[in-house]
């Protein structure tokens, strides 16, 4: 029997309950003496919705629970049948026979081909029928009971509207909880795997060690921690995402924002602002091969021409430059907003006292808009250190502690990709290290976002 049937029945019950309760409420209204105001607390529709909710929600909830519960009950009943006595006692073969018989009995496959499964089809079919009718009966009874209970409570002065609105509020709350709980789920899964990882490698070794060379093939041995020092990864991430990329993005983004808000004519602004925002809309994988195939060779040739022999064709410089270009719009749009939010009176006052436009910008607008600009930069940094495709393609895989931007360097995100692709075991520290890295990245990004939000909040209070 299809799981949709109890659902449809519950809905049908709800419709009947709605109609019945509404007509009962209308009857209250008609019973009022003519000429007086109707004594109803709520409109008849709300009485209808109240009873319909009572008829549908418990029945639906049961049907959902039953759909999850009944397969186990069906299997255990079918296996108590004598035909199941000669099944293999455990293992894959037993499971596959049971699955085959179940799908044949429920009609999702045409027939069971394995004779052992064929013998089980009939017990399964009868179990499915039994539990199907039990589920249907309980659904109906619950629907009736709920509907009757609510129906009997209806009085002219009954506060149906308040209760229906409370139910709607609860529904909205549950919907928002889905998003919140998902976040908690993500954090919890990261946290648990990280704790498992710290069972192999101590946090001190992980956070302070300077050699990164996990071997997913090696058996976990005694001096495992030596290979899981993540400092080179953190350094690579900060060097590429927070230093090189910001050296590109902050001047370009800030100056673009200043020019477009203070100097450019309305027409130029109308065209250039969306054009710059395209930079944030290019897929990161396209930036990735732009960095790897076009920028990286240019950077290497330029560095070698300048006499740096160690320049590699995968370099922190190439990845950082392209990443900086990518986040120009993040910096510029936040700076744009916060400069535009500085009160016009401050700007006018400065100009009226004889300051040039650039002096006004440097001495008045930027200091006033600084919190917003800083927040924009922090959001851009958190975006840059979480960026993956560009560094995977252009920065290289070698974990190296160096300040030379022309050498290859690796980042936290790249190592997460490297540890989690392929067929690594989820019990091996190399795979688990990806979760620890992800957890650190998550904490840093969260902290940056948190600080940015706090800074923005203070800034808003200053001028309102």
């Amino acid at each position: 029997m299809s799981p949709a049937i109890p659902l449809l029945l519950a809905l049908g019950l709800g419709l009947i309950a709605w109609l019945a309760a509404r007509s009962k409420a209308w009857a209250f209204k008609r019973a009022a003496p003519p000429g007086t105001r109707a004594p109803l607390h709520s409109l008849p529709n709300y009485h209808g919705w109240y009873v319909a909710l009572w008829a549908v929600v418990p029945a639906m909830a049961f049907a959902a629970v039953w759909a999850g519960l009944s397969p186990n009950l069906i299997v255990s009943q079918a296996l108590s049948d004598p035909a199941a006595a000669n099944l293999p006692t455990f293992g894959v073969e037993r499971d596959s026979i049971i699955a085959e018989a179940y799908s044949a009995a429920s009609g999702s496959s045409a027939a069971a081909f394995n004779p052992a499964a064929g013998a089980l089809v009939e017990p399964f079919a009868s179990a499915i029928r039994t539990y199907g009718s039990i589920g249907l009966a309980i659904t109906l009874v619950l629907g009736f009971a709920g509907g009757t209970y609510a129906f009997l409570k209806l009085r002219p002065e009954f506060t149906a509207r308040t209760r229906v609105e409370r139910a709607v509020m609860t529904g909205l709350l549950l919907a928002s909880l889905v998003a919140i709980l998902t976040t908690f789920g993500i954090v919890a899964s990261l946290l648990f795997e990280t704790i498992r990882f710290f069972g192999f490698v101590t946090p001190a070794e992980f956070l302070l060690g300077t050699h990164w060379g996990p071997d997913p093939m090696a058996a976990p041995g005694a001096n495992l921690g030596e290979n899981y020092g993540a400092i080179p990864l953190f350094w690579g991430t900060i060097f590429i995402g927070a230093i090189i990329a910001m050296l590109v993005a902050i001047p370009l983004g800030l100056m673009s924002a200043i020019y477009l808000t203070q100097y450019a004519s309305a027409n130029v602004r109308k065209w250039m602002k969306p054009l710059l925002e395209i930079l944030a809309g290019v897929p990161t994988v396209v930036y990735g091969y732009f960095a790897a195939l076009t920028v990286a060779p240019l950077v290497r040739d330029a560095a070698q021409a300048a006499g740096i022999a160690s320049a590699s064709s995968e370099s922190a410089m190439a990845a950082g430059l392209v990443m900086g270009i990518m986040i120009i719009p993040f910096v510029s749009s936040m700076a744009d907003d916060s400069i535009a939010a500085v009160p016009q009176a401050m700007r006018d006052g400065s100009l009226a006292m004889g300051a040039t436009t650039s002096e006004t910008i440097k001495k008045v607008l930027i200091p006033a808009a600084l919190p917003g600009i800083v927040a924009g930069v922090m959001l851009a940094v958190s975006r840059a250190i979480g960026e993956t495709m560009i560094v995977v393609m252009a920065a290289g895989a070698t974990a190296r502690l160096t300040a030379n931007p022309f050498e290859s360097m690796t980042t936290v995100t790249f190592q997460i990709v490297a540890m989690l692709t392929g067929e690594g075991s989820f019990d091996h520290p190399a795979t688990l290290s990806a979760f620890a890295l992800g957890f650190v990245l998550f904490c840093v990004t969260l902290a940056l976002n948190f600080i940015a939000l706090r800074v923005v909040k203070r800034f808003r209070e200053a001028y309102e």
């Binding site: 100056m255 250039m272 290019v282 076009t294």
Partner: protein, 216 residues
């Protein structure tokens, strides 16, 4: 106005102009980088939509291709044409029109394009088709001027001068699903694979670890 204050004013106005120019430079530079990015990507991408094709006539009427046009509407039409010797007919026609050396450089699977044309319009079997078939990967790279041997490059130059070999737009790039060679490559399978990959994992009972996509 004294000389001192006018000099100071001059300096202030110069700073104003410098600052303004700096802002303009930032905007223009960002726009130029975007233009450079889009230009490089487009220039590199155009090559993907083109492939080297050989052009030669195939006289199907005289070739003795014995297939009943009526039976070509069935689903095994491609197999029928293969059994009837269409691949050999194509090779022979290429040998006659282009010379033995060039005939060896017709893509071994290219006859399928011709077969698809015949299946779509069986009347073609009564006449001569001007076939435009994919060249082999080696000849294609010789035409692009990279990789291949000197003799192939000479051949490619000669054929190109005769108008028998050219880089042409290949709309099939969007509809094929093949990754076995540069000449037969297509992205349709990849586009489908955006969800087929997940379905495949689910069907095989494997944990879905996003092997295909979604890295960033």
């Amino acid at each position: 106005m004294s000389n001192v204050s006018s000099a100071r004013l001059k300096a202030r106005y110069a700073a104003e102009r410098r600052f303004r120019a700096l802002g303009l430079t930032a905007v223009v530079f960002s726009a130029l980088v975007l233009a450079f990015l889009l230009f490089t990507m487009t220039a590199n991408a155009v090559g993907g939509f083109k492939r080297a094709e050989l052009r030669f006539p195939v006289d199907l009427a005289a070739s003795g291709l014995t297939v009943d046009p009526a039976s070509l509407s069935s689903s095994n039409a491609m197999a029928q044409l293969e059994t009837a010797g269409l691949p050999d007919i194509v090779t022979m026609a290429a040998g006659k029109a282009l010379g033995a050396e060039a005939a060896a450089e017709v893509d071994p699977q290219a006859w399928r394009d011709l077969a698809a044309n015949i299946i779509a319009d069986p009347q073609l079997m009564r006449g001569t088709i001007e076939a435009e078939l994919a060249a082999s990967d080696d000849l294609a790279s010789a035409l692009r001027g990279d990789g291949a041997s000197e003799s192939l490059k000479t051949l490619a130059t000669k054929l190109e001068a005769e108008g028998k070999l050219a880089q042409v737009w290949d709309p099939g790039f969007l509809t094929r699903a093949d990754a076995t060679g540069p000449q037969a490559v297509g992205i349709w399978g990849g586009a489908q694979g955006l969800d087929a990959d997940h379905a495949g994992h689910a069907a095989a009972g494997l944990p879905d670890r996003g092997a295909g996509g979604g890295l960033s």
